[in-house]
């Protein structure tokens, strides 16, 4: 009996330690964001004297936060919608027709192989294409790229899901003279709700945080998304930690909120994606 108590005590201690290590950086950021410069100089760990919002005001004004938030939303929202629409259609058709179409089987293989390609290999050619098409520093150019690099993985998630849905319902709708296109949107797509939520939640998180593509395509001040804005902002304001952390916290809120609401779907997406690949 005693042995069990000691091991469970040890277990709880380990757990608390792990939780502390994981939460410490975020907690420290929250604390620091409320402190004035002299306060921070005195002590890093102490609680702020007053919970004043000066740093937040400063961050919003100086980092041009609202503009970069607007850019991020303008890029991420349409991208996620397009990804869900396109990849659900393509996942559906691969799942249903790849048995009798060599082209679709090939498409499935090409998508799978493309998951192995590192982004670095596309960096220079994409820059070149965008330069000649005058798409550099445009938000729609950014959307094309985000969607294009996400399609393969999200289609892949849909294929697995569609295969698990019985096709009798669709068949009976065809019999009644429904076109395949209408049939997909009216009958199949609503059945894909769970996987659509997963794809949307995962990509909202990933695209919101995208750095690799944005750093190549969005060089001009007025089109920068939050991540890329912060990359330059943090470089400039290392002396004023309070304000930089206020900016960091502000940008964290939307993604963490998205995760909290969509937790179930995100967790599911990661596990399913890992098992299938």
């Amino acid at each position: 009996m005693r042995k069990i108590r000691i091991s469970s005590l040890l277990y709880i201690l380990l757990m608390l330690l792990a939780i502390c290590i994981f939460i410490m950086p975020v907690a420290l950021a929250v604390l620091t964001s409320f402190k004035s410069k002299p306060e921070l100089a005195k002590s890093i760990l102490s609680l702020p004297a007053t919970w004043n919002l000066d740093n937040y005001k400063g961050a919003v004004e100086r980092s041009d936060f609202l503009n970069s938030l607007k850019n991020t939303v303008a890029v991420v929202a349409p991208s996620v919608v397009i990804i869900v629409l396109c990849s659900s259609m393509s996942g559906y058709t691969v799942a249903r027709h790849s048995r009798d179409s060599r082209a679709l089987r090939l498409l499935d293989k090409v998508y799978l192989a493309s998951l192995m390609i590192p982004f670095q290999i596309l960096m220079i050619p994409v820059y070149k294409i965008y330069k000649s098409l005058h798409l550099l520093n445009t938000l729609h150019g950014m959307i094309f790229m985000l969607v294009g690099t996400s399609i393969a993985y999200s289609s892949f998630l849909y294929v697995g899901f569609v295969k698990g849905i019985p096709h009798e319902i669709e068949e009976s709708a065809y019999m009644d003279g429904c076109s395949e296109f209408r049939c997909f949107w009216l009958i199949t797509f609503p059945l894909l709700k769970a996987i659509s939520a997963t794809v949307a939640a995962l990509h909202t998180m990933w695209l919101w945080n995208d750095f690799n593509i944005a750093v190549i395509l969005l060089q001009k001040e007025n089109v920068r998304t939050i991540t890329i804005k912060q990359f330059y902002f943090f470089g400039k304001y290392t002396a004023d930690y309070g304000m930089a952390f206020a900016a960091a916290i502000l940008s964290m809120i939307p993604v963490v909120a998205c995760f909290m609401f969509m937790q179930k779907y995100i967790v599911n997406g990661i596990v399913v994606g890992a098992v299938k690949s």
Partner: protein, 282 residues
């Protein structure tokens, strides 16, 4: 019937257009650029054959990024799997409420961008550790900087691997442990003889994913140190990026990344087949 056979391709078309524009065409073009001396700015360039590839092997500036990348991959794969496995074992426990809270907490860093994470940790290394524990900033040391960045990256991504290990642990039938306990197996024996072998599928996914993602390491390092101090944490990816934006040698950079991608695919296939062979069917 004819009409239906066409629709099935129409369904795949919109997605494929985006894919072709963003990946397929750049990929094809990349192969072409690797054989030219394009500087990244000019509209004209000449075909130089294999000169770029020959230059890679003579480039002394290439050594450091190459070995740094290997060090990143080695440290990142080891630490980036041991810690998530430990977390998964902690979370997979009889204390329901605590472990479900812990699972959420361990996953929160995954939501943060690598730029943000790197900044948080730069503050911790630079201000918090020296003032509270009195140790030096490891991001400023040429010897330890890679370990420092790996710890940042592991904090950032541990949640993903933890989930994969956790789902692996949940798939192990409880009866096996009960039977082992009856036969008098110690907890260590149970872990070594039941848990580890049955986790092989999770290992093969996680090790392959972490290894290839650390070989590609780019964003965290660029925002944590920019490749410094003195190039001590510069990776191949950053070197490719520098060839485009700093040295104006896009053709040469592309040749490096082409060779690098090839290496990555070979390594990925080798590692995943290594683990696949050790998987056990129940």
């Amino acid at each position: 019937m004819k009409k239906r056979s066409l629709t099935k391709y129409l369904f795949a078309l919109p997605g494929f257009c985006f894919f072709a524009f963003a990946m397929l065409i750049p990929f094809m073009m990349g192969i072409h650029i690797a054989f030219t001396d394009w500087d990244g700015v000019a509209s004209t360039y000449t075909f130089v054959g294999l000169a770029n590839f020959a230059a890679i092997f003579r480039d002394t500036r290439m050594y450091a990024p190459f070995f740094n990348t290997l060090e990143f991959a080695l440290l990142g794969t080891i630490i980036g799997n041991l810690i998530p496995l430990g977390l998964a074992l902690l979370v997979n426990s009889p204390y329901r409420r605590m472990s479900s809270i812990a699972r959420v907490i361990f996953f929160v860093p995954v939501c943060l961008s690598s730029v943000l994470t790197a900044f948080l940790w730069r503050f911790i290394y630079h201000e918090f550790f020296p003032k509270v524990f009195g140790c030096r900033n490891i991001l400023g040391s040429t010897r330890w900087v890679i370990l420092g960045i790996v710890l940042i990256g592991v904090w950032n991504t541990a949640g993903t691997n933890m989930l994969i290990y956790l789902s692996g642990l949940k798939n192990i039938p409880v009866e096996l442990y009960e039977a082992a306990k009856m036969d008098g197996a110690s907890p260590c024996q149970q872990f070594g003889r039941i848990t580890l072998p049955l986790l092989m599928p999770s290992f093969s996914v996680c090790v392959t994913l972490t290894l290839t993602s650390w070989l590609k390491e780019f964003a965290t390092t660029l925002s944590a140190t920019g490749g410094g101090p003195g190039g001590a944490s510069r990776t191949i990816s950053i070197y490719v990026f520098d060839n485009l934006y700093k040295y104006y040698k896009a053709g040469y950079g592309q040749a490096i990344s082409l060779l690098f991608a090839l290496m990555l695919i070979v390594v990925g296939l080798l590692v995943s087949s290594f683990f696949r062979r050790r998987e056990i069917e129940l």
